[in-house]
Amino acid sequence: MAEPLVSLNQLEKRFPGARQPALAGISARFQPGLVTGLVGPDGAGKTTLMRLMAGLLAPSAGQVLVSGLEPVRDAGQLREFIGYMPQKFGLYEDLTVRENLELHADLRGVLGAEREAAFRRLLHFTDLERFTGRLAGRLSGGMKQKLGLACALLGRPRLLLLDEPGVGVDPISRRELWKMAHELIDQGLTIVWSTAYLDEAELCGEVLLLTEGRLLFAGKPSELTGRVRDRCFQIQNVAGRRRQLLARALRRPEVLDGVIQGHSVRLVLRPNAPRPDLGELEAGPEAELAAVPPRFEDAFIEVLGGGPGGDSLLAQRVHRVADDEQTVVEAAQLTKKFGDFAAADRIDFAVRRGEIFGLLGPNGAGKSTTFRMMCGLLTPTSGTARVMGIDLKKSPSQARQRLGYMAQKFSLYGNLSVRQNLDFFSGAYGLRGKRQKEAVEGMIEVFKLEPFLKNTPEALALACAVMHEPDILFLDEPTSGVDPVTRREFWTHINGLVEKGVTVMVTTHFMDEAEYCDRIAQVFRGQVIAAGTPDELKQSTAGPDLPDPSMEDAFIALVQSQR
């Protein structure tokens, strides 16, 4: 085995004032010539570890060695050796592509003929040749990413540190980025790639799986997924309501974890557990149990000790909403223009009661704009948005009483306590007196909320959105960056609410999460490019070379067929 390029020895980092260390007891070795993934949810310590390796933070205890150098002590030598792309890419948005490159070239001493050659090579590599005169702020997310990468590659570093390069980028650009990463590996570079997307972990040569500052696993991703091999199944051809089936399955002792996957239900069994009896689960006469390949996420759940179970205390508290199949949310030719730019362009969809409807697309596709129009927060330029038959242009406040909205990044007041937040939002939705008190107490009990905002913002945000028992729930990117167990808990509540007749609209850029929806609309550049059930969308793009496409494959194929 080759000499490790990076070695971490009982590394610890504490920040003043924080109760828990950001990183503790991390020991690992990174081999040269690989993409090493730092994988984990937000707050796991990925960025802190990156910064320790880049010499931007000093360890509180333990040691980091990068090619034999101590990053803080040997900062001068280290900077010649590494290229670093921080989150949000570290670009000057008011400088052009070329000016950004020139700045970094000057800073790194890439001059003269070497410089022109480097620019040519990197612009060609990143396919940015046509955009050298464009301001970086005017580039798409994917192009910014590539420019950030090009800047980090100036001066020919041997180790490339990329902090969450996959965030805020459409799936096509993300694939291109991975392709570029593998080309760089072939040229002899070593890459550290941090990510909260678990599907990216499977593309890495080695991974460090982190959560809350602890190292859960270090090694090849296949080694981790291998632990759940032969324990992953799909219940296919389900008759009846698959969410109820999932809840029943999760109550069984042999089931470790389960999620909705299109029309099917995906289960991970405990080690050496017998296969569940489909008859007992009332899966229907046609149901089959098919073995499926394990995913990194399955293994992560196992490392975390299994899923949270399938019963939602929240749903038990909620009253049943009318059980008709009426259309409750409707967008007709919905358009929003900001100047010349159409953020949402003639969007059409209709959602029936008790359905989970997803808007799927990369950042900047127009999901949130559409969402805000559906909630009456933005006035459409043209077209209509109806909720419960009420035109939002005419009487938005009447419609708003019937819906709950959970905004991206959870619109909570960080300097209020949990109870104060609940009191505020319940009051804002018009709850008073005894009913308000019961609702607040109920939410604290259901979500086991602690008195201070800590690691449970998503639970509190959901609590705030559902306290007034809305008929329709709007969730804007509800689970980006959270760990898979928290995500399961969240969806357990949502599934429970839907079984009570609540209608849910959700936006997500997680392709996997789209599988939890009954129907989805794929949004790209302000337009709906395809709509249907997850299975329909995937099958519509299946071909001889890709018989079983993933949701991401389907998305990419649909975008490319548009061009």
């Binding site: 920040f15 910064r51 880049a54 010499g55 931007l56 933070l57 000093a58 803080v72 900062a75 001068g76 900077r79 010649e80 590494i82 670093y84 792309m85 921080p86 989150q87 949000k88 890419f89 570290g90 670009l91 000057y92 948005e93 008011d94 400088l95 000016e99 020139e102 700045l103 970094h104 000057d106 800073l107 790194r108 001493g109 001059l111 800047c151 540190l161």
Partner: protein, 376 residues
């Protein structure tokens, strides 16, 4: 502490900073348009002189002496006089704000005037709700009356024995136009905005946008970082200073008696302290909003209130007077007033220049200490 700098990197960073300034509309407005607007506001809008004060007059004595005095009031350039029938009518006019005060010439005016040893026979009623204006009214009426008395004595061939005549003569600002000392003061405000407020945002902005992290991971040194922030904004401030002075001299007609060299030296030293403070706040807060708030309180407000620009320092309570000695703007105001109104009077300039230099070095050194090559 080691401060190394490579010319190449410094030039690259300064170039970047300059491009950002040129492309940022708000920087341009603050540096080039704001000075002109502010100078016009201070030059024309705010004037501490009073001309054309609206004053009422009630003549209860209709004799020739009373009417003679009334004529002299009508002739005053400082007063715009309207006559009323009685005190009630004038009182209502003042309540309604149509006049700032009124003068009553009582029935026994002529009688008392000609009887030696009696008190002033005039009644002046002013609006105490605006004490400043009330003072103006009182003083202008008083001086008009005294002028009339002495002229009357002169006409009769008497010596104006009873009243003491004060003949004011203003040095350095012979016509005592407030514009001439407000303009140097307002240049101080402009320099403070550019120096402290604008620069307080720039380092914080780099932290907020994540570009600082990318810079820190490159071979940039602390000295380069600091100088690349100082130099472009220094240039911006100096250009703005010369624009201010040009506007003041050529458009507003304010005399400038100093030399350009002395102006440049004074301006540079003050900019040093303002930039230093702005960068210090920006570096310490790493947040644009907090940095701007801090700069407003630490630089802008003291420059307005404690610099002696509008409020006379000698009329402040002793503790506040002591505090003003710590405000760089105070020294700049004083130096600028010297340069505008008196010229290169070095003995008057030196103390201010020395303090400004010390303040600048102090803030910049503190910023250098606070600037880290790391994030923690």
């Amino acid at each position: 502490m080691k401060l190394r700098a490579s010319f190449r990197r410094l030039r690259a960073l300064s170039r970047k900073e300059t491009l950002q300034i040129l492309r940022d509309p708000s920087s341009n407005i603050i540096a080039f348009l704001l000075p002109v607007i502010m100078l016009f506001i201070f030059g024309y809008g705010i004037s501490l002189d009073s001309t054309g004060l609206r004053v009422g007059l009630v003549l209860e004595d209709s004799g020739p002496e009373a009417r003679h005095f009334a004529d002299s009031l009508y002739g005053s350039p400082y007063l715009r006089v309207s006559t009323g029938r009685n005190r009630q009518e004038m009182g209502q006019a003042m309540t309604a704000g149509r006049v700032r005060g009124f003068v009553v010439v009582p029935e026994d005016f002529a009688e008392k005037l000609n009887r030696p040893g009696t008190t002033a026979p005039l009644l002046v009623i002013t609006d105490g709700g605006e004490p400043n204006t009330a003072n103006f009214v009182e003083n202008y009426v008083r001086s008009a009356f005294e002028l009339w008395l002495s002229q009357r004595a002169l006409e009769r061939g008497e010596a104006p024995a009873a009243s003491v005549s004060i003949e004011p003569r203003f040095w350095f600002n012979p016509t005592a136009e407030s514009r001439n000392y407000l303009i140097p003061g307002s240049i101080t405000i402009i320099m403070t905005v550019i120096g402290a407020l604008l620069t307080s945002l720039v380092v914080a902005r780099e932290w907020e946008r994540g570009t600082m992290e990318a810079l820190l991971a490159s071979p940039v040194t602390r000295a380069e970082l600091l100088l690349s922030k100082l130099l472009p904004y220094y240039a911006l401030g100096i250009i703005s200073l010369f624009i201010c002075v040009a506007v003041a001299v050529w458009l507003l007609g304010v005399p400038f008696r100093g030399s350009l060299l002395a102006l440049w030296l004074t301006g540079s030293l003050f900019l040093g302290s303002a930039l230093g403070l702005g960068l210090l706040l920006s570096t310490a807060t790493r947040n644009q909003f907090n940095a701007a708030q801090a700069a407003l309180n630490a630089a802008f407000l003291p420059a307005v209130i404690l610099s002696g620009f509008i409020y006379e320092i000698r009329s402040m309570p002793p503790i506040i007077q002591a505090v003003t000695y710590l405000v760089p703007a105070r020294y700049f105001v004083s130096a600028m007033q010297t340069l505008f109104q008196a010229g290169d009077v070095w003995p008057a300039l030196w103390p201010s220049l020395v303090f400004l230099a010390v303040a600048g070095l102090f803030f910049i050194a503190l910023t250098a200490l606070k600037t880290r090559r790391r994030l923690d």
